[in-house]
């Protein structure tokens, strides 16, 4: 699972609604793998408004991945930034471990690169 995907995920357990806690999910005991992917600068620039940067920074730092605290003023002309962004959101995969919600403590498992986001009946 890519970090791009993680940036879109939130806890969806019923009654877990505190926006400051249900997002982003916190990685726990994870294994990381870098998998090469063809970069596309135009795609990356256009992806910036879709990303929650604060959440991405928090997550990257948790995983000891270097990341700029803020998006540069003109990202389209900042090759170094785009390369870093590409590595982080498109090439960094979490293959094992889990994602924990800080609001309700629900743990979503990740196995062989696949996150299981299903809930138990009483959580829906």
């Amino acid at each position: 699972m890519r970090l791009l995907t993680h940036n879109m995920l939130k806890c969806h357990v019923k009654n877990c609604t505190d926006p400051d806690k249900q997002y982003p999910l916190r990685f726990k005991d994870v294994q990381i793998e870098q998998i090469e992917y063809e970069p596309n600068e135009e795609f990356l620039v256009r992806m910036l408004p879709r990303l929650d940067w604060t959440a991405l920074v928090k997550t990257a730092k948790d995983l000891n991945i270097a990341i700029p605290d803020s998006v540069p003023e003109d990202p389209a002309s900042d090759q170094e930034f785009l390369q870093k962004l590409h590595t982080i959101i498109m090439e960094t995969h979490v293959t094992e471990g889990s994602m924990v919600c800080d609001g309700c403590s629900h743990e979503y498992k990740i196995t062989k690169g696949i996150a299981n986001m299903l809930l138990a009946e009483h959580e829906i």
């Binding site: 791009l4 997002y23 596309n40 135009e42 795609f43 992806m47 879709r50 979503y108 696949i114 829906i124």
Partner: protein, 229 residues
């Protein structure tokens, strides 16, 4: 021998019906199902190829990932499916995919520029649940984003024929004898709600907050493309 389609007269809860007659079946038939699903349908291919560069999309009920690879590089799609076996097939193909339920998606509001859900919403076994699935699709798309949905039609031009007036049916899936998996024909039944003309549009209008852009009939399915307000 050709297995008949039968009317759904099961006296079990909606959730149990979907568990036994949709989820469990897809997990069982995943490899055979996947081997028969490879050619993208033209309306869907056209929709994906026309999206602006840099679009981020979700394929809800992505099956074997048939649509996740139609356009790569300048857009990105992530799939979800309720069947773990199908998600594993997507993963083997290096598609981005996770296990989730279409009634209750794990994505934040407005995360995506577009969402598609192809041949999925007909597996929900009540009007309420079909509306809830549509509501979730619209929730995860940003205002101004689009949603494309395909569902099986009651009115079929192709080889399948359904009995008029019986919208809720159990449709057989046969894994033929001699395939690498089975030595004799093995039959599974999947639950379907067959959509009548106008029914899919009507569900989108009942849910509200969206403007229909294109509706139509293609390959025995009704489809809708709508824009979130």
């Amino acid at each position: 021998m050709k297995e008949p389609v039968v009317a759904d007269t099961l006296q079990i809860s909606e959730a149990d019906k979907e568990e036994q007659y949709v989820h469990a079946v897809y997990n069982e038939i995943a490899p055979h199902f996947s081997d028969t699903r490879f050619k993208p349908w033209p309306v869907i291919e056209r929709y994906l190829l026309a999206l602006p560069k840099g679009s981020l999309g979700a394929d809800i009920g992505c099956g074997n990932g048939k649509y996740l690879g139609v356009r790569t590089g300048d857009i990105f799609m992530m799939g979800t499916d309720r069947s773990e076996s199908l998600v594993e097939i997507c993963r083997e193909r290096n598609y981005e995919c996770l296990v989730s339920d279409g009634l209750d998606l794990p994505y934040r509001d407005g995360a995506f520029d577009f969402a598609i859900s192809i041949a999925v919403i007909h597996h929900f076994s009540s009007d309420d649940r079909r509306r809830a699935a549509i509501k979730e699709l619209l929730r995860i798309v940003r205002p101004g984003g689009t949603v494309l949905v395909f569902v099986w039609a009651m009115e079929q031009n192709g080889r399948r024929k359904f009995e008029e007036g019986t919208q809720d049916v159990l449709v057989p899936w046969v894994i033929p004898a001699g395939s690498k998996i089975e030595t004799k024909d093995k039959v599974f039944h999947r639950y379907y709600h067959l959509f009548c003309k106008g029914e899919l549009e009507s569900l989108f209008q009942q849910v509200g907050g969206n403007t229909l852009e294109e509706t139509g009939y293609d390959r025995d399915n009704w489809f809708v493309i709508t824009r979130k307000e």
